[in-house]
Amino acid sequence: MFKLEKEKTVSTPYIMIDEQKGYMTFSGESFPENVLNFYSDVTDWIYKYLKTDFSSFTFDCRLVYFNSSTTKLLLNIFSAMDDAAAEGKRVIVNWTCNTYNEIIIECAEAFAEDFKNMKFRIILDENMQ
């Protein structure tokens, strides 16, 4: 079973994946120099995992800022998650945004509108930092 934990830095988020629990979380900021390289161990795992016969997968996203390259990466991950949900698998995104961060909220809403098969919850938290 795959497990991954990366500490956050100024430009990269805290990442935790626990395949046994069907759980992944990102929190912090994401603007690495090379997004594809930074997230390669996440993407290598998740695209294979989403094709397996898992019972439930939850992604808690608590990014306070992410650049446009990360937006594209999230889009690709959500697209694969939504495809898995379309096959009847239980896939949940809990996206927590600071109540006052309109850019992140609009981005989350755009994703939620585009991916209808999985459960996409947007949670507003005024204390989120």
């Binding site: 594209k72 961060n101 609009e106």
Partner: protein, 157 residues
């Protein structure tokens, strides 16, 4: 406007490395907190780093400044671009600048769905979503070099 009403937080000229983007990001967070200007700054800094036509050790060169003027945070960038980039930027910005919030949101959804325009295209839409007055841009040619200038004003509480 009197110069004394403007407070310059960052003034950069030269190669924009990832290490510098991170150092400036820490400074800016401490100065302005969770303001949309932060997102605009990082996007513009990384645009210089990745796309400037003038390179030094694989990093793009340009000028970037952040200043506070009354209730606004002004982020201004200048960097050399190629002729092809000039045409693409001009086309994208001509489309984006007159758009209202709903139109920008629809365009953002369309771009992320179709993957068109690359991450740079999505980044410009996100910058346009953050500003409190229309984005200003210009191209200036001198000695065969095309300079692209972009300025964004974001409300700062």
């Amino acid at each position: 406007m009197a110069l004394t009403s403007e407070r310059i937080i960052i003034a950069h000229s030269g190669a924009m490395t990832q290490a510098l983007v991170e150092r400036y990001a820490v400074t800016l967070r401490a100065e302005i907190g969770d303001c949309a200007a932060y997102a605009v700054f990082i996007e513009m800094a990384q645009n210089i780093m990745k796309y400037s036509a003038e390179r030094l050790d694989d990093y793009g060169c340009g000028r970037l400044s952040v200043s506070l003027m009354r209730e606004r945070c002004i982020i201004s960038a200048v960097n050399p671009v190629t002729e092809l980039m000039r045409r693409e930027l001009d086309e994208r910005l001509t489309q984006i600048i007159p758009m209202n919030r709903d139109e920008l949101r629809r365009l953002f959804s369309e771009r992320i769905r179709t993957g068109s325009g690359g991450s740079g295209g999505v980044g410009l839409i996100q910058i346009a979503q953050a500003v409190c007055e229309p984005l200003c841009y210009s191209f200036e040619e001198s000695g065969g070099i095309i300079g692209f200038a972009l300025s964004a004003a974001v409300l700062y509480q």
